[in-house]
Symmetry: C2
Subunit: 141 residues, 2 copies
Amino acid sequence: MADTAIPIGELSRRTGCNIETIRYYERIGLMPAPPRRGRYRSYGGGDVVRLGFVRRARELGFTLNEVRALLGLAAGGDTTCAEVRDLAAVHLKDVRARIADLKRMERVLADSVRACDAGQEPGCPLIDTLYAEPRAPAPRG
Amino acid sequence: MADTAIPIGELSRRTGCNIETIRYYERIGLMPAPPRRGRYRSYGGGDVVRLGFVRRARELGFTLNEVRALLGLAAGGDTTCAEVRDLAAVHLKDVRARIADLKRMERVLADSVRACDAGQEPGCPLIDTLYAEPRAPAPRG
DNA sequence: CTTGAGTCTGTAGTCACTACAGACCGTATA
DNA sequence: TATACGGTCTGTAGTGACTACAGACTCAAG
């Protein structure tokens, strides 16, 4: 009852992945096409595990192509750990770059909002920032 | 020579915004359709300023719809500073949420890569993480 | 006259979904 | 038996913010 003939709605509930997305994953070959009971898809315990893997990888920010690669590596023996490590390391670098980008944005935005709150300057500090020359280091002191 | 009859390629060079994107902005009404010299678009200094504004707002992570709003507010008087501030504050919250998300990813990824490097455990630490139950707090001591 | 660079329109692809429309299926209830 | 309801099906199109062509044209220099 728990592991066989799971309909798509329950797979969705168990994994937190919505139905349309599950069908989408099937269409792009990330999830195998399951057998049918009549016209309806019928999943098993393995599908729950696999889809869970996919979802957790996605939550770590891996692209679907990277997830595909990870699934392939996971299916292989344990000789592939180095490859997995490399994939993760590349991705980690990317995540860190995105964090750095966002922090730069955060700084500028926070400065502008603070300046707005202070309300000392004429005009609007954020609008001024947006009109200002790019990459000019603001004089401060 | 500097301010009139600027062809799209030069506008692109001056703003760092690529040509296809400029035409895309025109199509969606973010940039006005400029007059033509023959069949060619002919921009002026105002377009350089406006597109620069757009680009800088995009670099701060505002969506195109937010940029549209900002452009509208910037065109108004200076009575709109509070509205700009609110827009920026909402966006700032969003940026901070994204940073928090990415940091969570970073932590998990960094842990896995480190565990890989240590190479003590059997199997692959990252693959194990991906197969593991969601949100189970890892025992650590 | 030809070459090359620049520009034009229009369409389709990217990523990872998401949102329908409209049909069908199986069961519980009146 | 009728019907209502919830679940599922296929297929297509939309999202955001571009990006990438194809194939035609314009213009100036050599």
